[in-house]
Amino acid sequence: MSLLLEVEDLDKRFGGLHVTRAVSFRLAAGDRLALIGPNGAGKTTLVNQVSGVLRSDAGRIRLCGEDVTRLDQARRVRMGLARTFQITTLAPHLPVQRQVEMALFEREGLSARAWRSIDAYPHLQDEARSLLARFGLLAHAATPTQDLAYGEQRLIEMALALALRPKVLLLDEPMAGVPKGDGARLLSALDALPKDLGVLIIEHDMDLVFRFANRILVLAEGAVLASGTPEQIRSDPKVRAAYLGHSS
């Protein structure tokens, strides 16, 4: 069982605010680790640190055995670490298919090519279209992303991350803003994620968490409150007191 991601004693302060306190966890191939905790616990900050958007003050991050703590986000992505954003982060005017192709060009290292048209790479276009088809977005291939429904934009977020064929995927509240009951396509996309992928997911919806995750990490005030299997977490009195009191 290969270790994809090792986070050791990760620490971060914003001035006087200690937002991440010596957080450690591991992600192996096939893991579905859910990161839960009350609002303000520092979940997104932690993901930002792991993905490279934020510089950590202390601690180590190892991706497939290599130390990436000092590397910038782009470098970590190229090494196999992909993420989605809680607030949809898409290029608003680009058509959906172009956005996926952009991810593919980047993955293949072709984004420096300046002579041939983007239409002249049929194998990548086919891959983009089949990825869109898997997400049920093929009908909107030529639509600018800002013209799509919100739920579909969330799907594109996930599609872009998967287009990169990452080894580790960080999902920051993929269901954010999608009303309960409307998320069927997103849920099936989550279920259909590659089996050997290591996934860390931030979520508030407890039903989803207990259904999807094989391990749970509970964060409160920047520190790890508890970690273990869903059953362990469900019966942990500390967690019940701090968090599971507000059941959804």
Binding site: T89, L94, S117, A141
Partner: protein, 333 residues
Amino acid sequence: MNTQSVLTTQATPEAAAQAQPRCASPWLAPAILLAAGALACLMLPDQLGLLTRIFVTALLVLSLDLVVGIAGLATLGHAAMFGVGAYAAGIFALKVMPEPLLGLAVGVVAGAALALASGAFLLRYQGFTFLMLTVAVAQIVLSLAQKARGWTGADDGLSGFGIDPLFGRFAFDLEGRVAAWYALAVLVLVLHLLSRLVNSPFGLAVRGIHENRARMAALGTPIYVRLLTMYTIAGAVAGAAGALSAQTNAVVGLDSLSFGLSAEILVMLILGGAGRLYGAVIGTVVFTLLHHTAASINPYHWLFVVGFLLMGVVLVPPARLLGFVRRRMGALQ
């Protein structure tokens, strides 16, 4: 409320299978431009000087479109690359040899070099800071040009150089015929090259950076390198425009480095629409013709026209206006 509305968008079944984005051909716009430009040169033989100026300026505004329209970097210092290209070509003609195509190459290299050097510094910043720094850099170049009297002639300008016949055969005549065709040819060729550039994976990546940097970083794009490359290419094109200007006018002045020029070309670009390359050409034509007619009446009235046009263009972007018109036409049918 329709519970399906969050997750699905309306799309007709026919559209489903066909929907696929396609890029325009990189031959179309240049072909149209060549035809229009050639027609203008043939039908208006006494306006060749004006036409040459339009072609050269359009080339400069095209280079600005790469930076502003494609890469999304608002700059008020772009004239620096133009001026540097102009002075480099002029000095080359004066002190080394008056061969036009080599001079053009010298201008290209000079513009690219300045863009590379300044961009390496500038692109570490964004937004208002970047804008102000472009002003600072351009003003520094202007001050250096003023200082270097021996090379640039400072306020008197650089002159006294001739240009050899193009390809050894076509001498630059007094009516300006060769100059006009020369400028048009370079403009059309560059428009074709840039059309290819913008529709390439590199161009797509830069457009992505323009629209959402965070998204591109999350895809692993080396943002700084891509932007610097685009900025350097833009500098090369601006330098080419400068060289053409020097060669067709046989004089280079300090106004080719001025803040006023940087602002003017920005206005031209916006009038024609930024981000689509051909908009740069359209904007240049519109602006220059307006200026030509209005300024001869009263230079201040000219400012009225441009001022209102600018405010109008910002309040009602042409793209939105076009979309509005298109929807109206659709409703009529």
